[in-house]
Symmetry: C2
Subunit: 351 residues, 2 copies
């Protein structure tokens, strides 16, 4: 009577059902504990047993049930990453590096995208945490207070990437968007440009976009330029919108001699529009981008832009999160240096 009659829940065709740890154990004539150890801490099992068990695993096509594993181990070996968009290459390279780095630690990456919406991002954070993400990679500092509160309460380690600012005390890895854009603007001004156009991505909920605009203004001030020397158009992320914004700027009078863009995608749209309108770049007007994604090199003319250390951010973030997850010290925020890639789209202003 010590073992009550069990209700058979199992499929009636045991042969076709997913094999379980127990099946493997039975076939290999060991206990479930040993099988589990073979899979998780192989060093604790003798070579002979291990071989036999792994053989059986392969034979039965056994795959551990994730839910059960997470439930028992209270750890999923899954990290989450929430990026604003996956529609273009901006975060692709960094994410790739992140995933690769985590892969070396046996960690799976779950990717979600927030469509640049803090509200949506908050929902994604909750979803990923409920799904057991051990740690999270987030982009930029801007998000709802509830998001941060939730993360703290749940004690989920996270790191902010693609942005670095000495002012924020939370862990981050990235570069100073403001300084980077300031440096680029400086080069532009040094070439003699005095009337600037700026196409920025939406700034609400996007600290990187804001910082880049601020960088432009910083540089202008340093050069003693008045704010009205800058024409600013804010639009959402898409090639087509870059084109529209460029058209708008070209109607201003006097016309800007250079159009700075908050990212390469908008810049690509601007270049396409320039070509459509027969405006020579950079002879009639210069254009610059930001990010240095692949298209920067293949558009005509090729794009002068800010090269961002995508891969190093991804790898670095992975390292930091692994350390945190293991209860170790992540070593503090990291500031990386972006550089400016000079190509054809930037030249001196027309005479």
């Amino acid at each position: 009577m010590s073992k009550p009659a069990t209700r058979p829940r199992r499929s009636t065709e045991p042969d076709l059902a997913q094999p379980t740890l127990e099946d493997v154990a039975r076939h290999a004539c060991v206990s479930t504990a040993t099988v589990s150890r073979c899979l998780n801490t192989p060093a604790q099992v003798s070579a002979e047993t291990r071989k036999r068990v792994l053989e059986t695993v392969r034979l039965l096509g056994y795959a551990p049930n994730f839910g059960a594993r997470a439930l028992a181990a209270k750890r999923t070996n899954t990290f989450g990453a929430i990026v604003p968009t996956m529609e273009n290459a901006i975060f692709a390279r960094g994410l790739q590096a992140f995933q690769e780095a985590l892969g070396h630690h046996g960690i799976t990456t779950l990717v979600a995208s927030s469509s640049y919406s803090p509200t949506l991002e908050e929902a994604q954070i909750r979803t990923l945490v409920a799904r057991g993400a051990d740690a999270l990679l987030l982009i930029g500092h801007d998000r709802t207070p509830e998001s941060y509160a939730f993360l703290e309460k749940q004690r989920v380690p996270y790191v902010v990437a693609w942005a670095y600012s000495g002012a924020e005390k939370r862990l981050s890895i990235g570069f100073d968007n403001r300084r980077a854009m300031q440096a680029l603007t400086q080069k532009v001004l040094a070439l003699g440009h005095r009337r600037l156009g700026l196409i920025t991505a939406e700034r609400a909920g996007n600290d990187r976009a804001r910082a880049r605009v601020d960088g432009v203004i910083d540089a202008m001030q340093a050069h003693g330029l008045q704010p009205d020397a800058l024409r600013l158009v804010e639009t959402t992320y898409a090639i087509a919108n870059g084109a529209i914004a460029f058209a708008t700027l070209m109607q201003a009078k006097p016309r800007p001699t250079v159009v700075l863009c908050g990212n390469d995608v908008l810049a690509a749209g601007a270049l396409a529009e320039a070509r459509k309108r027969g405006i020579a770049v950079p002879d009639a007007v210069s254009v610059t981008g930001f990010d240095d994604i692949e298209i920067a090199e293949i558009v005509t003319p090729s794009l002068t832009t800010v090269r961002v250390p995508h891969r190093r951010m991804g790898q670095g973030a992975a390292q930091m999160l692994v350390a945190l997850r293991n209860g170790k010290d992540a070593g503090g925020s990291v500031a990386l240096d972006p550089t400016i890639t000079m190509r054809e789209s930037l030249g001196p202003p027309p005479a």
Copy 2:
């Protein structure tokens, strides 16, 4: 003795720990079953009790544990998608549509990428299934026999997208890559081209790439052209490789008058190389792509390519999988029609 002393595993700070179903039950003075019912089948609970329970849920900030839920319910409401790459936009739009469609059904999408490797893909399939994916979206027909065997054995519903072939009996939604490329080649031949270059992605493990090459050959045969009129270069997926391959083709003598590319990424590389070498496109040599991703429109000259119904494939695949998961009929494979987008990069051969 019926109940042995329990080992306390629980956190020593109950206040900070995640609340469990049991906590909610205790606070609301009901059984765990009732709480569970409130969350999953509210109709089975009296309005009064339901209100009290949901109140408690909010109060405690309870969030169900995904692993436990999956384990007990044997269903995760999670579908998986494995695409060859996320590095560029090729699958982005389709994936986006897939995710959106599933979202309407309360289903989360897990995305993984196989880097065009069947072996890696097999591992990804196992991972996703182990993670409880209720159904899978796969790209193309080519994969290891073990992958298919595994899927059948585990009885995981799946659908193959981005490819359709009457010959395969497995469920798929997509278009006929071979016929599409044949149609494009026909246009090329109709313009008078007789010496063709073809840059293809690696064909091993990639039925779409093979089908596209076959399509070119079909069209050539229909025109009575000998096979040696085609120069073929196979390379891996990357802009830079497209450039190298183009350079190779340009050294052939006699030189091809048109370079067909297996996809837009390779074509973008080819165009960049042409520009670098001062080869006018399409005056000196024509170039075509395949996929019609965003860059096709912004490169110079803009790219003549095959427009693929990305979004409809994503949505259709989602619908089919939901039906299958619910034990309903998915309605059979779907063949969609790609169309040819004529732009600037294709013209008649030089005189």
